[in-house]
Symmetry: C2
Subunit: 382 residues, 2 copies
Amino acid sequence: MKKTYLLTPGPTPIPENVLALSAKPILHHRTPQFVKLMEDVKVQLKYVFQTKNDVLLLASTGTGAMDAAVTNLFKKGDTVITLNAGKFGERWTKIAKAYGLNPVEIKVEPGQSVTVGQVEQALNKNPNTRGVLFQASETSTGVAMPTREICDLVRKRENCISVVDAITALGVFDLRMDEWGIDVLITGSQKALMLPPGLACISLSDKAWKWSESSDIPKFYFDLAKERKALAKGQTAWTPAVSIIIGLQETLKMIKDEGLENVFKRHETLARATRAGIKALGLEMLAKDSPSIAMTAVLVPSEIKDGKGIPKTMRDKYGVTIAGGQDELEGKIFRLTHFGYVDKFDILIGIGALELTLKDLGYTKFEFGAGTGAVLKALASS
Amino acid sequence: MKKTYLLTPGPTPIPENVLALSAKPILHHRTPQFVKLMEDVKVQLKYVFQTKNDVLLLASTGTGAMDAAVTNLFKKGDTVITLNAGKFGERWTKIAKAYGLNPVEIKVEPGQSVTVGQVEQALNKNPNTRGVLFQASETSTGVAMPTREICDLVRKRENCISVVDAITALGVFDLRMDEWGIDVLITGSQKALMLPPGLACISLSDKAWKWSESSDIPKFYFDLAKERKALAKGQTAWTPAVSIIIGLQETLKMIKDEGLENVFKRHETLARATRAGIKALGLEMLAKDSPSIAMTAVLVPSEIKDGKGIPKTMRDKYGVTIAGGQDELEGKIFRLTHFGYVDKFDILIGIGALELTLKDLGYTKFEFGAGTGAVLKALASS
């Protein structure tokens, strides 16, 4: 018998009361009952997105919403700046290319964040830039981007919009869509919204909606104007992911009840406790200057030759699933995630399982309890 | 948002796959489907009870089965020896009195176990004793009784049977009903069988069935002969607790798949890890000589005046429910349970929450991580 724990950057754990909703009879979507559900979800999503704009629901993952942002807002040949601080930044470049845009990519080393200065320089060099596409939190490296400052730069330019992938950021830390002038904000259900994968959320500012009017890229499933019209009637253009939306109503209520500020504080506490544990074990984070509080990417210590062994042992021997590194970071880092339906003792488990794993793999320069003790100390002082 | 954890001696946590069965349509009990279920459960229960005898299912808690044991096996005026090492031993005395038996009680101090010598002496003093009634594991103090040795004494006497309350023992540690000559063995669903409360299991040896023939105490609901007849047809005498029995089929399969020996080993490991944590925090166990591996009863340290504050703070501030002391032990001990659907990281959580709680309540003579470190060390060496 082995219990299992999930500390990956998505899917994240789902609250028991939300899982229980899956056992309720399914709802048909073209009914007044569904419209009532959507009207509630619409209001609550605006609270989490910190916007007065509509938040559209797509039956897709977050990548679908990224695809939709590009096809709905831009024209073939448009110059866009993409910020590549890792795998998900690179994805913006790939999507832009796939639809015939002209992406100017700012690429930084893994673990680094793109600076506002770099973005400003690129904007000055490419004055015809129609959009800046980036991640609020780069999931592959655990880096946070200066979202507020970048959006501030962009909002001053009449011919440019900001497109923010907040898939592992929304509901984790503060992102004020309207106040900061974020033009497009995207998230997915299996992250801080604490739901199964299969639902994406996207919101557009008035400025972004204007962009959509001149878009010439063909689209059908991801036609945001059509979604906007449907949403006005409490509907979606196509069959919605009904069961996930039923769950969404519940998780949005949980977030509202806890209060966004408290949700952010909780995530900060969990990040601090995790990092105290990591440091006490003599380990180093990949993101030194600008870590995202969504996750902690840790460098595999030189004493461990098989870096992939860390997530493997944690999962197969101890039942704790964490993420390894992707692409060129494979075997070089491992990622402990601490957002969504995660609380203090999940961190204790993560660091406890890590202690057992490190000793198993031959990294022994710590006493058992060093990491968990630092976690408890950080929790006690928060 | 706060997750909750259950480390009490019952109810204990229920596996997710068993909880999910509650969402399945209910089954009617007078059907071939239910009979098929019962036939499977019958076989698997014998494995867990380590007996060839029938294991009867009662729609009651364990106390109902204790009541049934007395009313079905004895006659008014019968002398029985009851072993009172705590609240549950005392319950045997109370039940015996309620039905007009003549209980001779051996009472020991809380934390002590009754010795075989004491039982032998009492048997010699009361040669007409028709039963010895006791707990394999006394839940109120965390003490284990010398079950094998006591039953060995009793089996040599033609006019006496052993009646063992194994409510927090069966499926926790080794109890060989047939091999050791246990005459009556009792458990409840909400313990190591990992189910909701509401179902009791009781098995009788051939010798015990003979006792039942001469019983003159009136009974109706708890008529074990009637239950035995019903069970032969894959039924119960009265409406069975269907949903718990559906869950029982699943948890019995889990126990069979893990293997009884491994189940016992797991509980031993968890008990050892818990006790390593307790010791490292400078705390003492109530049961010094003969602790049950089902739970760890810990003395409230003198530095903490309000002993009831420990379970209260753990539950209300940290979401970890443990048990306090009962009756005269109230405020003097607290009990961490480690059986059933419990694994290594539950122990880490229990000791971690205890560290936070102890500091909160002014017991500070340890460094954070002392307890959890000892837990991890014990787990690593098991």
